[in-house]
Symmetry: C2
Subunit: 380 residues, 2 copies
């Protein structure tokens, strides 16, 4: 059966990248690798829209998050953590594992954080060293307004640390213009690669914080990564084959253009949401991200059954709900290497699986709604 990944990481990897990664392996202490790594770093700075260093770690995205915590802070420091889903909570868990005191800002699942509540916390809670936020919260399908949060935090000495793991390369993110101190990304999302690489951009202000941070670190050491980077190298053997793929993926991103990519994700998100509504179902997120659509099954459809049918009968892989949403939603990703016809495929499969489960709706209504939105946006 032809299988298609509509999961929020890993996402589908372009065939040309898969084949490029199948070339004979190169050595990471060679002029060839140094040339590759330099080009990759130019591409990463374009992707992040920054002049800052972007450090590369061989790890899952979570490793990049841990790297941010252990390089910026000291035990006993106080930080503000926006917790509106599983990934916001992860920021808090990592900080607590290192003895960093967490001032939580809890947000109801499905809602974006109101930037004003961050401003109030910064005013009323003294001594906050850093603010941790998530751009696109994959567990709730919500997009947080990082631009406005950036404006607020920049009036304060606290650093702003952004988990853009599922956001970057899909949603607008301007690291320098929005003055984001640290931005974390991963390979298996908008970058259209297999998992295994994490990227962390570090501002001048953040480098100052690194100097006074005393949390223990070895593998995640920013300073060592920066020194190696200046020579076109990594401190430890990097995942070379993924870096070969990364060079190609960053070229593809440059060729298409970030503005075009953001617009494509917007178009696909709108089309998917409209299709879901046309089938009589709701969107879980109140301020939805363009990365993925979380379909609220309103306790009337069993999410696990629906996913099973989509996967086994139609070869369409979507994600289930996480934490308190388990079984209650499905999460359809439209991130990365996705075109209009992929969206129509996902919507068609959803219609077929819902029909199998006895859900009643006007057959074809979802596909028609999606097609209409896609056509409107393409003709602009």
């Amino acid at each position: 059966m032809k299988k298609r990944l509509f999961t929020p990481g890993p996402t589908m990897v372009p065939e040309s990248i898969l084949l490029e990664m199948a070339a004979p392996i190169i050595h990471h202490r060679s002029p060839e690798y140094t040339e590759l790594f330099k080009r990759v770093n130019e591409g990463l700075r374009y992707l992040f829209q920054t002049e800052n260093d972007v450090l590369t770690f061989t790890s899952s995205g979570t490793g990049g998050m841990e790297a941010a915590v252990v390089n910026l802070l000291s035990a006993g420091d106080k930080v503000l953590v926006v917790r509106g889903g599983k990934f916001g909570e992860r920021w808090g868990e990592i900080c607590e594992a290192y003895g960093v005191r967490v001032e939580p800002l809890d947000v109801e699942w499905g809602h974006a954080v109101d930037p004003d509540t961050i401003a109030r916390k910064l005013k009323t809670v003294p001594g906050i060293k850093a603010v941790f936020v998530t751009q696109s919260e994959t567990s709730t399908g919500v997009l947080n307004d990082i631009k406005t949060i950036g404006e607020i935090v920049n009036d304060h000495p606290a650093l702003l640390v952004v988990d853009a793991i599922t956001g970057i390369g899909a949603h607008k993110l301007l690291t320098d213009q929005w003055r984001l101190d640290v931005v974390v990304a991963g390979s298996q999302k908008g970058l259209m690669l297999p998992p295994g690489l994490a990227f962390v951009s570090v501002s001048e202000r953040a480098w100052e914080a690194v100097k006074s941070s005393n949390l223990p670190r070895y593998y995640w050491n920013f300073s060592k990564a920066k020194t190696a980077l200046s020579k076109g190298q990594n401190p430890y053997t990097p995942a070379v084959s993924l870096l070969v793929g990364l060079r190609r993926s960053l070229e593809m991103i440059k060729e298409e253009g970030l503005e075009e990519i953001w617009e494509r994700h917007h178009r696909h998100a709108l089309a998917t949401r409209e299709a879901v509504r046309a089938l009589g179902l709701k969107i879980f997120a109140k301020e939805p991200s363009n990365i993925l659509t979380i379909v609220d099954l309103s306790s009337t459809i069993d999410g696990k059954k629906l996913r099973g049918i989509l996967s086994r009968k139609y070869g369409i892989m979507v994600a289930g709900g996480q934490g308190r949403l388990e079984g209650k939603v499905i999460r359809i990703s439209h991130m990365g290497y996705v075109d209009d016809f992929d969206i129509l495929t996902a919507v068609s499969a959803l219609e077929m699986a819902l029909t199998d489960l006895g859900w009643s709706f006007e057959s074809g209504a979802g596909v028609a709604a999606a097609q209409r939105i896609l056509a409107e946006h393409r003709s602009r």
Copy 2:
């Protein structure tokens, strides 16, 4: 130009594995992945010769080393670190980064540690919690006698932690029989894969230590990895494409058989060493590992020039000296996906490059010596 890697990691990756990793990516929360991960774990237990859990981390081998330190120890603990090269020193650096007190056992570069000196240290220095050693020290080409070290440490409450990153899948290593508490391995060595995965086996005794360890950890958390493993899962998105390759590489290892693989590496090491001597050069290591041959250039040949010619003129990539050996040696690896003809190729290229540099020897003497050893060992 046809290029060949004779570097001690990354090593050459079999074409069939490269192509298998180029298949469309699968999702890590799917029955298909769980099945794959279960088979991989059976294969890893065979490779490690253990019934212990073998935990998988998406990272370089160094990440696996750091994981061992932060899960077994507490700040202020005292440990014995055998430092006979760059990788032994790394154990010490990681421990110190976490406030673990290092009792060093320094060994002259080029020599294996005398196991009796470990016994003496354990007797005379009170309160040692763990002993850190390196099986095959890649910076000096030395093999340490892990079996005997295991017998010594097992008479003592200290845990034995072995860096087998370049040893495993090439040199005999019997985790359970030798009672090794923690063994660390990496993907880009004997496992014939690209870099990006680290593996750590954990004994019952080591699991007891995990309970009382209080060093901070999140990404490297053993307990979380074990819980996920019991469900055929990983705590964080693993490097899926490398795991697909790992399944195939472990199958290949099982098909060839560990005993056969150890014998092959032994044969190749003997042949390479004999060839080097026939060219009038010396072997740096006194107790040499079968992983790689370090050619001592006796300050008469410039190591950097020799490597440059090998690489640019002949497409043969070997490694240079590390630390105090920079420029003074070349390191020729014969680890992983290497056959007899590859050895003859490496030796031929060495002869040609030495001739280019004006080194005088009987032309063909190296190849003849290698062929003789290979033939002798094949006919057994």
